[in-house]
Symmetry: C2
Amino acid sequence: MKVAVLSGGVGGARFVRGLVDVVDPEGVTVVGNVGDDLEILGLHVSPDLDSILYTLAGLGDEERGWGRADETWNALDTVERLGGSSWFRLGDRDLGLHLVRTEALRAGEPLSAVTAELARRAGLAVRLLPATDDELRTWIETPAGTFPFQVWFVERGHRDEVDAVRYEGASAARPAPGVIEAIESADVILFAPSNPYVSIGPILAVRELEEAIRGRRVPAVAVSPLIGGRAVKGPADRMLARMAGGTTPAHVASCYGDLIDVLVVDEADAHDLENLAVRPVVAKTLMSDGDARRRLAETVLAA
Amino acid sequence: MKVAVLSGGVGGARFVRGLVDVVDPEGVTVVGNVGDDLEILGLHVSPDLDSILYTLAGLGDEERGWGRADETWNALDTVERLGGSSWFRLGDRDLGLHLVRTEALRAGEPLSAVTAELARRAGLAVRLLPATDDELRTWIETPAGTFPFQVWFVERGHRDEVDAVRYEGASAARPAPGVIEAIESADVILFAPSNPYVSIGPILAVRELEEAIRGRRVPAVAVSPLIGGRAVKGPADRMLARMAGGTTPAHVASCYGDLIDVLVVDEADAHDLENLAVRPVVAKTLMSDGDARRRLAETVLAA
């Protein structure tokens, strides 16, 4: 079975981890968001790709939800003492990956090739691809100003309400090698339970990629990131309320228009399916442990 | 009293540390070697400037002789696992400094400004200047090929005999702001007990800097890095034997020509002062502890 999954960071990574328990990982291609990539301290950081890599390789810190387990913070401690940018929390083990990636990118390798090599070294069986090798950056428009995604999300603690989301560079961005092929050869296309605006949105902003999904001959299934109208973590619910007008399954589905055929919603949202333009599937979507992750993946594939 | 010191890494750093115990550090300008700077893992590393900074700030690992005390190696461990360049040993705390420097350089700041800010943050009272803000790199010609300095020194463990040393970029390199002023206003110019070819040589390769020393109206005093014709550490003795024809004080002094007036030599070399074209001063030059460092500095200044 061949599966293509569009995924953001933490939530998507957990979803894919459940998925590879129920299908052969060799058939899975994860298309990751790069809209929240950033250049900091001279390094190229790809937080969503890394969350997926760390989670699938069993290297991630499950409790913190991001970064590496068994982490130390000595480099950033020095950075802070020397007056450098320390608002983006980079642990020592995590830094090692960014150093390797940055060196390869500066040597002219495309992000997709670097990511493939990192995934291979980390022992990943799934194929992990950035949506694009081109520079595509998410900007957040708020009443307090317009910010690069990570400045809004991390430095400002996503405290500002969001008026609009912009994907800079999207119109010129081409899908990374392998992305279109993965979508066109998939038996099913999945949208992980990630933030529609800042995780899945930047992926779909790559025009050829969106067109490939629009031209699909297989089902596309999205998993809602909301449970009872609330985000498990992060600002997805506030963003939906403000920009889509609400947090029901219909509001979530509206973000994806005719790009999906099925929306998997949590039991807590099953009472509120009116105006939903796609077929609903009700499941327990909280990925609290390995069993829960596997059950969700089974339900999604059965849909 | 105003002192200008030309210095390489470890040996020079220890010498300066003794110096600031006997003169007001505010009057001391250290002109550091950048010929062994390197770009690795996307970072700009200035090993000699950092050895001086760490040593003077009390942050250095005295036993290892380089890098930070209380160091961890988690980033490099990750780099190694991911197949990146790990031959140049960068500890986590050390990395923090390289990240800050690299970010500032990429933002267009000159190395001298970055170095001044790092020194200020680290609490240094002496002025620390790179010899030049321009790219000047030491290359080592050996029977096995020609290598960038750090490849020969660290990656190949300086096992190859040296036929010649080349300073790439030297002819176009200008002294960093403040260097000429420091030399011209100094009451004495010191050459630290560093390797004449790969530590002091790249500094003197900056033409205007060499001319400023040549035109001095104050004494210039060099401290020999050899004790009994042997290097305390490193390949200086092998290089002198092969390229200068021997390891006596006269051979050491020949590296500096008429740029020095006095050579401070160790007691172990006092028997062998023939052919020495400059005035010798005999001292205990092994900087085994704080007292020894201070005594050496006093002797040098008295000379």
